[in-house]
């Protein structure tokens, strides 16, 4: 029994990481119709910046968190303004490929600015072990689950109550019409990029604390991608759910079936679910713009 609980807990923790990054994919998709293939890389860069801040401040968690969040937002806004926005009238495939180009640059750039070595983040609070009724987890793992819960709550509130959230829905539905209505589409898209950067940055940094910081961290993006699809590309909250489902499934498959199957389990679920629901669990049917 304890074994099952431990599997579920560790699945939840890694699923929360997937979920946060999956939400980043979804929110950018929802606001701009774009799939940002560089999202994992942006999360990785934020983790590295957090690492640098932590090293400079002797592992002060508050300064590190604040600095990393501020950086992630500024960085995302810069990317959006310099690279993405000028491409706004290009075909969607071209824009997606742009983000793939960005991903390549970020991966090499990370190794250029930092190095290719694995590192410990140097944040004692994050890697400290916490005992939850017999199940031991790291601080950062609790952190990532909490972050996911907060992000989901924030998104629900945002889309329901904020004028901005409603505007975002409008922009996603029809950019031109929304513009006519006086919605500042650029502002909405910036907000989406910013929010995505914070979520994937938190996921990247906390993953780096609980597991490891290395230049292969970007692969989290690829692993979270199925979660977004599972939830439905345009469903921000659904993506969070998708992430948790995939994290837990991976662990259950690894724990009870063949561990070799673990890495493909996520993909198998995706195919199975898409056969039944071609737009993901919570997606809307309208997204057929490719």
């Amino acid at each position: 029994m304890n074994y099952l609980i431990e599997l579920l807990v560790s699945g939840l923790a890694v699923g929360a990481v997937y979920g946060l990054i999956a939400m980043s994919f979804a929110i950018i998709f929802k606001a701009t119709g774009l799939l940002n293939f560089a999202q994992g890389e942006m999360g990785m860069i934020t983790a590295y910046v957090a690492f640098s801040i932590a090293s400079a401040t002797d592992g002060n968690p508050w300064l590190t968190a604040a600095g990393a969040i501020v950086f992630s937002v500024l960085f995302a806004l810069a990317v959006e303004r310099i690279v993405i926005r000028p491409m706004v009238d290009e075909p969607i495939l071209a824009r997606i490929m742009t983000t793939i180009g960005l991903a390549v640059i970020f991966r090499s750039g990370t190794m250029l600015v930092w190095d290719a070595l694995p590192h410990d983040m140097g944040l004692a609070a994050g890697s400290a072990l916490v005992d939850l009724g017999g199940v031991r987890v790291r601080g950062a793992q609790i952190g990532v689950v909490v972050a996911l819960a907060v992000a989901v709550a924030a998104m629900l509130a945002f889309f329901r109550y904020s004028r901005f959230g409603i505007a975002m829905r409008a922009v996603a539905s029809d950019d031109a019409t929304a513009r006519l209505m006086g919605v500042k589409t650029a502002r909405v898209q910036q907000a989406a990029w910013g929010a995505a950067a914070v979520m994937s940055g938190i996921a990247g940094a906390l993953f780096a604390i609980a597991w490891e910081l290395s230049p292969s961290l970007y692969a989290l993006g690829l692993k979270s991608f199925p979660a977004t699809i599972l939830g439905g590309l345009d469903s921000v909250v659904g993506s969070a759910f998708g992430g948790v489902v995939i994290g837990i499934t991976e662990n259950l498959v690894g724990g009870y079936l063949s561990p070799g199957l673990k890495e493909v389990a996520g993909f198998v679920i995706i195919i199975a679910i898409l056969m039944v629901r071609p737009y993901g669990l919570f997606g809307e049917k309208r997204i057929e713009r490719l």
């Binding site: 495939l93 180009g101 991903a103 640059i105 090499s108 070799g260 493909v264 898409l274 737009y279 057929e288």
Partner: protein, 348 residues
């Protein structure tokens, strides 16, 4: 506009070329392929061989993505299947390489039906993700059946003897690959001008209207999957022969992304674009290396402090630069150049 060529018969409309200029260019290209093995050094020969193998794969993907509008991230998976589809019968069972090449096309084609049938309800990014998933699952299966595939250890691939011709030197390999490339281009052009090719275009541009015209969307999307993966599988087999070794490690997932990048850089939906894209993307790292080594020792001094990462950054910048400044790809650039050429010195 070129002028002065009026077609007298329907057959002339059907011809692949419609002017002597074009024929002359084709002759030049063929002559270049024929003489290259005598002129190029091994390194350049190898590089061009790799470009041609990549171009075959690019043409394959172009059938699916460029012509039919179905985005695939499963290129790697079909290449792996093609490579093993060739290596297992030829190297393990001792079959004739020709049969191997046939299987290198048929195995991925059959697999693409398996991927395709359930994926046909999906469009756009959702389809992209199932093809991506299939690529990962293929790799997993290869590792899971070591009895057949030799698992992670891979299979050595000898250079083949085709119809009594033993492909031995790098020059021979170049010729073999060149023959495959030319045949692939011909086959693809023929498909393009057939009812099948038109049905694919119709699906891409307006699937509802295509259906009203009698195009069964499911069947023709499946056809696109089959034709595409057949060609991609061939490129996988050639790549295996080129590496002389087939393992899943030889086919990193990045290939799927690079294949798409190739079509974009070359110009979506055009065979010449796929070829140009392959030449460009395979050549790019080499050109960058050359630029770096031109700086000689100073570059070597930088070596251990990570100057090589600069290459990666440049690679990404070039892709973005193309998308931003020349969205129609190299083919668009070429057309612009042609226009300037024919219209010069006046703009109109």
């Amino acid at each position: 506009m070129r002028s002065g060529f009026y077609k007298q018969t329907i057959a002339e409309h059907l011809a692949l070329t419609d002017s002597w200029t074009q024929r002359a260019w084709i002759a030049v290209a063929l002559a270049a392929l024929a003489t290259a093995p005598f002129v190029l050094d091994t390194y350049l020969l190898t590089l061009v061989t790799l470009m041609m193998i990549t171009a075959v794969g690019g043409i394959g993907l172009n059938i699916l993505t460029g012509w039919t509008g179905l985005i695939s991230l499963g290129q790697t998976g079909f290449m792996v299947l093609g490579a093993y589809g060739y290596a297992i019968p030829v190297e393990t069972w001792g079959w004739d390489p020709l049969a191997g090449f046939l299987l290198a096309g048929l195995v991925p084609a059959a697999a693409s039906v398996l991927v395709g049938i359930p994926s046909l309800r999906l469009t756009g990014l959702y389809l992209a993700i199932t093809t991506l998933a299939s690529a990962f699952i293929v790799v997993h299966l290869v590792l899971e059946f070591p009895g057949l595939t030799n698992g992670a250890s891979g299979i050595f691939v000898n250079r083949p003897t085709v119809l009594g011709w033993t492909v031995f030197t790098d020059q021979d390999l170049f010729r073999l690959v060149a023959i495959f490339l030319v045949l692939t281009i011909l086959g693809a052009l023929n498909l393009r001008r057939s009812r099948i090719g038109r049905a694919w275009f119709a699906i891409r541009d307006k699937d509802d209207a295509a259906r009203v015209m009698g195009v069964d969307l499911r069947t023709y999307k499946l056809y696109a999957f089959v034709a595409s993966s057949f060609v991609v599988g061939l490129s996988g087999a050639l790549y295996g022969i080129f590496l002389s070794f087939v393992t899943v490690d030889g086919f990193p997932f990045l290939l799927s992304i690079e294949a798409l990048a190739m079509l974009i850089v070359g110009g979506m939906g055009s065979i010449a674009g796929a070829v140009l894209g392959a030449v460009f993307l395979v050549g790019l790292p080499e050109v960058v290396s050359m630029v770096f080594s031109a700086f000689g020792d100073s570059a070597r001094a930088l070596l251990s402090t990570g100057a090589h990462e600069v290459k990666g950054v440049l690679y990404g910048l070039v892709i973005i630069g193309f998308l931003r400044l020349q969205p129609e790809g190299l083919m668009g650039l070429w057309r612009d150049a042609q226009r300037v050429w024919t219209l010069w010195p006046l703009r109109y």
